[in-house]
Amino acid sequence: MPAAAAIPAVADTIVPGGASRSLRHESAAMHVQGSASYIDDLPEPRGTLHLVPGLSTRAHARVLSMDLSAVRQAEGVVGVYTAADIPGDNQISPVGKGDEPLLATDLVAFYGQPLFVVAATTRGAARRAARLARVEYEDLPAILNVAQAREAGSPMVWRPMEMKRGDAQAGLAHAPRRLSGRMTVGGQEHFYLEGQIALARPGEEGEMHVISSTQHPTETQHMVAHVLDRPSNLITTEVRRMGGGFGGKETQANACACLAALVADRTGRAAKMRLDRDDDMTMTGKRHDFVIDYDVGFTDEGRIVAVDMVLAARCGWSADLSGPVIDRALFHADNAYFYPDVRLRSEPLRTNTQSNTAYRGFGGPQGIVAAERVIEEVAFATGLDPLEVRLRNVYGTHDRNVTPYNMVVEDSITHDLLPQLARRCHYAQRREAARAFNAGSRHLRRGIAITPVKFGISFTATHYNQAGALVHVYTDGSVQVNHGGTEMGQGLHTKMVQVVMRELGLGTDRVRITATTTGKVPNTSATAASSGADLNGMAVLDAVRRIKRRLVEFAAAHWNVGEDEVRFLPDGVHVGQKVIAFAHLTRQAYFARISMSANGFYKTPKISWNGDTGQGRPFYYFAYGAACSEVIVDLLTGEMKIERVDILHDAGESLNPVLDIGQIEGGFVQGAGWLTCEELVWDGAGRLRTHAPSTYKIPACSDRPRVFNVDLLENAPNREHTIFRSKAVGEPPFVHGVSVLQAISDALASLDGYRTCPRLDAPATPEMILRTVERMRNGPLPAA
């Protein structure tokens, strides 16, 4: 960072649309005209082959034989490839565990595992051919869920973690009151609208150019290199934009990219693999579902004194990112609350299902949903308003401020945020109104709840917290910016353009973002963990300030003014008393042989984490927010509607308020979907039965809250020195959906006069709600 630090911020007037101001998405006009190109829209190179995978139809089995002759002979088929055709490593474990073959060989470990890939002249021909394979299996016992995994001796994909401070057992034993319970939380399909896709084009002497819908181009590059047994310098990965990612393309994009590259390498022809939605949902990993056992000690005043929790997750057949995902669930099992004595343990369980993976929040939401259940239990046990219980347990600023992983929370604002939102949305009055309504309503019940979020920002794998950028200023004063982050709709590219605009005083028309490519910025991290703008923004700033530094030096010397008299403002470059066009400056600088291209680099300061000792500071800072949801529930059918939602969210000094509000609105609805209508169902054979939007229901337009008020917390610059004091905003708002689950629970609690915790599990589908109603009225039901 030396170059960035050496230059003081000189722009005292922010150009319209520059960083910290609203600016519409850089592709908005293209989106609405259908002219924004996704990979399948690109003109295909001559002779492009279309690939379709052949998937296993057993959850766990030995492959006795695989007869692909009918596949090979099918019309239009050019080739069929199996693991035997892979020149390098048949291995795409993203964490180096070696437990994830690209194509299965003698063993299949889940229903939907790719066994072979068909290449044909048309996609239709490939799809028809792939179904002609005859595979003989010998079934092996399959472990499909957490309960079965525990019965089978708890096989794990990753080391379990134990996080503790104080003595939870002693704390529980001495607590005035104590209760324990279990919560189950379902998984979630990403349902990015653009499915997994990659287009590979072979080049000279083993070069391979892969256009991939990936959140992690560098990893995709490395995987292709390993599979083809090539050095990385022969492989280039490129992504202009994704049609949604949400974590589902952090590692799960690699299979398509590697298979496309494999076929391109074998045939010398371009090869494209675009998964059909059913294959996509059947093959790829999802959000982890959890079973969480909690034991909590508390006082009559609703103060938590000790917590002991076990968080067990269905990880699927391979490790993928399950280790860090489950760890992050532990990191967030406190949400915004101080647990004096605490022990948190994880069980990352191996199962014969899709390998669960990153998904917006990365385990954090599952930890938080458990924390909020514990709060709810304490509230119903003590008869207090859950909001009051929350306020009595939130982190303090000077004491009661140490997390279970021994990090001091320096920036806590929950104690202020919760009451502020409660006042704004008239929580207390509406709670009373809901109770009055319920007293007079036989079949419909209203519920309301307010929940906070505290979300840790940084990759817990410290080395991921770095980023690079490459900025070119051309002689005509136009600027091209590249960085290691990827655009999946979140507006990262827009924000990066805004950083340049603000620094150089330029309008949007002067700053162009290009596709992310490993050929321009190498060794990048996944665009994940909400870190895209934080990391890449600082790298872009570093690059642009390096160039700016040179331009300032040149201008000062050329026009004979002091360096502090050169300023880049919206009306042009101020050089002493005169104002010149930026293009004039760059032309003069070119003639003076000044370099106007620079790399930028950034690494997050202050952080460190030792997973073995459970010590350190894994997060640079926390992002905060609070949400209040009101729902109405039908006790006859379990149907539910979200009537009103109010959100107050902390984006620091927002880099772009309209984009951040978009992240909050979208994140909330996605989070609410996870906890309500989105249900993954596997049958007894391990086959996913909800493998398309006909059976897997993400929220539709009418599921959005009828009244939906979203505000950014004002005058709240990040205490840490982030890019223009902003805060990350990708994942934290997802957690606001938890308020919906709690509001439904509040509605159901009316069934017994708010005396017991309904223990509503997620997803709260109509059936789950009706089962909870039945249980509260008549005791436990037989299992579903």
Partner: protein, 496 residues
């Protein structure tokens, strides 16, 4: 007799002689026409990313319909003009008001679903005029999924787009009508080639003859079901008979014995007449069948003919006492709709026989019709269970007649005859309700699947009787009886 199909895409007229009969419009647009603005999200008509507009001249009126291109066969477009996202800008390059509003209100994030939304919004403006409430917007966009925005900015954009006044298509209407008029020749179309055969009969007599000649041919009206056999089942249909534009089959008529709906009448076209004949609060079921795109293609009779146990139409029509009309050559027969469904996937229809129409009797003034769909998601979902009731009360409070039909409870849509027997002739009071609830257990033994467990289906089936009692009981409905009704009673908050 014509041996080509003819239609416009944008301003260009296409005459096709060799397109396979099940070639989907989406694949044809993307792979052969390079119109890649139309996206594939699911290839089964559920996400709306492939939404296009199909404009037809009906009488002298231009009708604009949003449909899912992924489950439309190209051959079904004979005589129409297709507009894709590439055609939506004004000729001078300015954005359509819908596009501009989507930009101004940040209605796109990843942008992949956006072209489909824009098409639905353009169609919604055409279909609904400029006066739509919030609920109308929900209905208009129910068939378009967005995973990024949470819909709020899209709805804001739609509100503004509706206030934007006429668009450039209004000025082009005469030219479009004239162009489509020139395609109208009333000809029967027959295409036969190595990739299959296509028949588009011009008359019902022609259809009857075609079916007698080719009993194995597959009749397609809207393809909202058959489309999936092709896109997901990869089935080859050697001979497709497209009936969507046969004038006699497109009739909606009020006849002495009730409302007659011809076999090619779509749900969208029938909706107003059905809501009129079978009035229910909030049009509950008819507006929740599929989505706009599905209702614009799928037909009332297709929903019957495919025999699905979870079709939303049959239970309602059975409860209402509908009769189905079939034709085989020159021989016609009619039957009570419930008798058509024999077993799972088995209907009372000979291979060369076809559904010609359905008649729905008009209920008397003392009859209340109610139908409730229960699904995981409110819109664009398949019923876990659908209960339909036709309740006739005598002046003395007795149940003069009751017809109850359920979808999702058995291998076919079926009446609840034990429950009906427990109610018929009794005073409609709480003991009768309890007796009816108990009888329901004898009527059905539903299955468990990804939509719901058998426990849920049984419980909700009985609970819908309780809802019927709350709504149409002796005291009448004193309060909203569903979460939807309760929810829409409240106004939009002024903020943001």
């Amino acid at each position: 007799m014509r041996h080509t199909i003819r239609f416009y895409v944008g301003d260009e007229c296409h005459t096709l002689a060799h397109t396979p009969p099940t070639r989907t419009l989406l694949d044809w647009l993307r792979e052969e026409q390079g119109r890649t603005g139309t996206k594939e999200g699911c290839n089964e008509g559920d996400c709306g990313a492939c939404t296009v507009l199909v404009v037809r001249l009906e009488g002298d009126r231009l009708v604009w319909r949003a449909v899912n291109a992924c489950i439309q066969f190209v051959c079904m477009l004979d005589g129409a003009q297709v507009l894709t996202i590439e055609d939506i800008r004004a000729p001078d390059g300015t954005l359509h008001p819908v596009q501009q509003a989507m930009v101004d209100h940040h209605g796109s994030q990843c942008g992949f679903c956006t072209p489909g939304f824009v098409m639905s919004m353009v169609a919604g403006r055409k279909a609904a005029g400029l006066a739509q409430d919030e609920r109308g917007i929900d209905d208009m966009l129910a068939g378009n999924l967005c995973r990024c925005t949470g819909y709020a900015p899209i709805v804001r954009a739609m509100r503004h787009a509706m206030e934007a006044g006429p668009d450039h298509f209004d000025a082009m209407a005469q030219d479009m009508a004239a162009r489509l008029e020139r395609l109208r020749d009333g000809a029967t179309v027959e295409i036969s080639g190595p990739t299959g055969s296509l028949s588009i009969p011009a008359t019902v007599d022609g259809l009857a003859a075609t079916m007698q000649e080719h009993p194995d041919a597959r009749i397609v009206a809207g393809a909202t079901d058959v489309g999936l056999w092709v896109t997901k089942g990869l089935r080859v249909l050697p001979h497709v008979v497209s009936i969507g534009q046969i004038p006699e089959l497109r009739r909606i008529e009020h006849r002495p014995d009730g409302l007659y709906v011809g076999a090619a009448v779509t749900w969208q076209e029938a909706r107003a007449a059905l809501a009129d004949v079978l009035p229910q609060p909030d049009e509950e079921v008819f507006r929740r069948i599929g989505s706009v795109q599905v209702r614009n293609a799928g037909t009332v009779c297709g929903n019957i003919a495919n025999g699905s146990p979870i079709g939303d139409g049959p239970p309602v029509l059975i409860a209402a006492g509908a009769r189905l009309h079939l034709r085989r050559g020159d021989v016609r027969r009619s039957m009570a709709l419930e008798d058509f469904f024999i077993d799972y996937g088995k209907q009372d229809r000979a291979p060369d026989e076809f559904v010609e129409g359905v008649t729905i009797p008009v209920p008397g003034p003392d009859t209340a019709i109610r139908a409730w769909k229960v699904s995981k998601r409110f819109d664009q979902d398949i019923s876990a269970i659908l209960g339909a009731f036709s309740l006739t009360l005598a002046p003395d409070g007795r149940i003069a007649d009751i017809r109850i039909a359920f979808g999702g409870m058995a291998a076919t849509p079926r009446r609840a005859s034990h429950t009906e027997a427990a109610m018929r002739g009794r005073i409609w009071d709480e003991p009768t309700l309890e007796a009816a609830r108990a009888a329901m257990a004898m009527d059905f033994a539903p299955i468990s699947d990804m939509r719901a467990s058998d426990w849920y289906r049984r419980t909700v089936a009985a609970n819908l009787l309780t809802r019927l009692y709350a709504d149409c009981g002796p005291e009448g409905a004193r309060a909203p009886i569903s979460v939807q009704a309760a929810c829409t009673g409240r106004g939009e908050h002024a903020h943001g």
